[in-house]
């Protein structure tokens, strides 16, 4: 352990000599000063554990010396030695925290005991202070390493540095890896405009500065502490700078504060790099999540499309196998009706029912064949508004009969898509028919085309999408049915009224046009089908 250092200040040589001899014998390191100025000089060079000083001295009063030394070395202990004790000086001594107030002449042995007690007390006090400082420091670094968002992290680092050094003003600057300029990331006690415009260009390599930094920082009243990377990838590279100035008490920074803030800077550099990595990771994960969601979506669409295409294929294969017997049944039943039971009301009714069933069976074939038709498109430029109108004309009289008003909201300019006209018209016809089915008494069917729909990334290049909305004020679709409505043969309509194929066909057709269909619905309020198609250039 280092020897404890004592500075004896007295203008009487005899006292200096007496004390020096006794203290050296006790194993202390001793220096002396015969006046206040010399004492201050010496105190600047060495940080003493104890100052023993006379009060009445030429040039500089002992009390002043004490105050000044205490300012740069707050842990220094004081013992006052005086031949003229007064109440005032005693009070003053207590106020500045002197350990004892000894009157001349004094007993050397008693003096040595006092010194011993004083230094013992100091040892424990320093330990205690260091410990509590370390605890705060540990807490601060723990907090720093637990922040992963950059802005709060920067602020926390700066605040920690300021609290450790008890300073008012400071900033944290980081080097932009691309421009190599220093940007202010956090600041305290600085003018906002200055901060915003501060961008220091680094012509010289800052890592050199980083090495010099320590020396420089230790001597100046402003601390400029480099933040240096310790990650294996960029070890030694400067990340930025932590600047601290203006101590609260206008004192200069103590060595202990400087050391702590340097250690803090090391932790801060780690935390900044970690946060950067964390952020990058988070972005990657977010990106990955999006890709996975997209993949799932695409996969679902693909499965649906393939399912429907398979239905079309199958339908094409078996359509005539079913229609032939249907043809025979129809021929047979008509023969029965014409010849065998002529003018028989009862049999007329039976024949009517059989004919209806034949129609039902045939309608399913007709719908199924639309799936296979959707697989062989003949694309050309189609005016979407015109196509929507044509499909609407097909349901106009039905709409009138059930008091449904058809409202159109199309843009002034023509909107064109690349499409198979016949097949695409089928999509909107199916949607209108469903809407009318949902509004048997009255309602409103709203058709709208909009161009400013969302852009969709397609193989890296942006495509403009046209959005068509077919909205009704009908009975709506129940939550649990929503996920089923695009499935083939799903229908909530009476037998013979629906084949459950309309939306599946629409889905397949749109998929084949690189478009998509989505639905929003509220029971008893209405349903909106949203169709998106790539806009023709």
């Amino acid at each position: 352990m280092d020897k404890q250092k004592i500075l004896v200040v007295d203008d009487e040589a005899i006292i200096r000599q007496l004390l020096t001899r006794s203290l050296l014998k006790e194993g202390y390191e001793v220096e002396t000063a015969e006046d206040g100025n010399i004492a201050l000089e010496k105190a600047k060079k060495t940080s003493f554990n104890l100052l023993i000083t006379d009060l009445k001295m030429p040039k500089k009063d002992g009390m002043e010396v004490l105050k000044e030394v205490k300012r740069t070395n707050p842990y220094v202990e004081l013992i006052i030695l005086t031949g003229y004790p007064t109440i005032e000086t005693a009070v003053e001594a207590v106020r500045i925290g002197a350990f004892d107030f000894i009157c001349k002449p004094f007993d050397v042995q008693a003096m040595l005991t006092t010194i011993k007690q004083c230094l013992e007390k100091q040892k424990y006090q320093i330990k205690h202070i260091e410990l509590s400082e370390l605890m705060t420091f540990a807490e601060i670094t723990r907090l720093i390493t637990s922040v992963f968002e950059l802005e709060p992290l920067f602020n926390r680092i700066l605040d920690s540095a300021l609290s450790i050094t008890k300073a008012k003003r400071g900033s944290l600057m980081l080097i932009d890896p691309k421009t190599r300029a220093l940007n202010v990331k956090a600041a305290r006690g600085l003018d906002k405009n200055i901060i915003r415009n501060t961008e220091i260009n680094l012509n010289e390599d800052i890592s050199d500065k980083a090495v010099q930094g320590k020396e420089q920082a230790l001597t100046s009243s402003t601390l400029n502490i480099p933040l240096v990377s310790i990650s294996s990838r960029s070890k030694g590279n400067a990340l930025g700078m932590l600047n601290i100035s203006d101590k609260v008490s206008e004192e200069s920074f103590t060595e202990r504060e400087k050391t702590l803030v340097f250690v803090l800077a090391g932790q801060a550099a780690v935390a900044i790099e970690n946060a950067g990595l964390y952020l990058q990771l988070q972005e990657n994960i977010d990106g990955l999540r999006k890709v996975i969601a997209q993949l799932n979506d695409t996969q679902n669409q693909l499965i649906q499309t393939e399912k429907l295409a398979a239905v079309g294929h199958l339908a094409f294969g078996i359509a005539h196998e079913i229609r032939n017997p249907l043809g025979i049944i129809l021929g047979g039943v008509e023969l029965l009706n014409n010849t065998l039971c002529k003018n028989d009301n009862a049999s007329d009714e039976v024949v009517g029912k059989i004919k209806n069933s034949i129609d039902r069976a045939n309608n399913i074939i007709v719908d199924l064949l639309k799936f296979s038709r959707a697989s062989k498109l003949e694309l050309k430029l189609v005016d979407l508004g015109k196509l929507l109108d044509e499909a609407a004309a097909l349901v106009a009289s039905r709409a009138r009969l059930s008091n449904v008003e058809i409202e159109k909201n199309f843009p002034k300019e023509n909107v064109r898509v690349n499409a198979d006209e016949t097949v695409l018209r089928q999509v909107f016809f199916n949607l209108y028919t469903n809407a009318l089915d949902a509004m048997p008494k009255e309602g409103r069917l709203k058709l709208s085309i909009s161009l400013n729909g969302k852009n969709k990334e397609n193989n890296g290049k942006k495509e403009n999408f046209v959005t068509v909305e077919v909205a009704d004020t009908g009975k709506g679709i129940r939550e649990e049915e929503l996920s089923n409505i695009f499935n083939p043969f799903f229908t909530t309509k009476e037998p013979g009224k629906g084949t459950g194929l309309g939306l599946s066909i629409a889905h397949l057709i749109l998929e084949r046009h690189n478009g998509r269909i989505d639905v929003k619905s509220k029971v008893n309020e209405g349903t909106t089908f949203v169709v998106k198609l790539p806009q023709a250039a």
């Binding site: 032939n324 047979g332 023969l335």
Partner: protein, 131 residues
């Protein structure tokens, strides 16, 4: 002009042919012959050309497209109007039949009324051309 027009139906479904013959003849306007075998159908058309032929597409041996090609290339039969009457519905087949100048393409099941309307329509047109 003959009183009752003669119709030839070529279709491999015997039951279908029988019902159609009964239904159409019931109205007493036309006489219907039918062949369930494609080659026999062609032979019948050549031997005694009918006023109208209803022709199926999918048949064993020769399909309807082949038959219409043969009939439309034969001087004896080329002017007989042919209406396709089939359970097969696809654009490619329709297009081929149209290329051989079929009058129409009807997809089963077809009601008697529809067939009679078609017969009237085609034969009237034919009559106008002849007149």
């Amino acid at each position: 002009m003959r009183n009752r027009r003669k119709i030839l139906l070529i279709d491999d479904e015997e039951d279908f042919c029988f019902f159609i013959k009964q239904n159409l003849e019931h109205s007493a306007k036309v006489l219907v012959d039918y062949a369930a075998n494609p080659d026999r159908g062609i032979a019948m058309a050549r031997k005694d050309p009918p006023d109208l032929i209803f022709l199926d597409v999918m048949m064993p041996g020769k399909d309807g497209i082949k038959i219409i090609e043969i009939l439309k290339k034969d001087k004896k039969t080329m002017s007989i109007p042919i209406v396709m009457l089939t359970a097969v519905e696809d654009d490619a087949t329709k297009l081929k039949a149209a290329r051989y100048y079929c009058e129409d393409y009807l997809v089963k099941p077809v009601s008697r009324q529809r067939l009679e309307d078609k017969i009237d329509e085609v034969l009237n047109r034919q009559g106008q051309i002849r007149a």
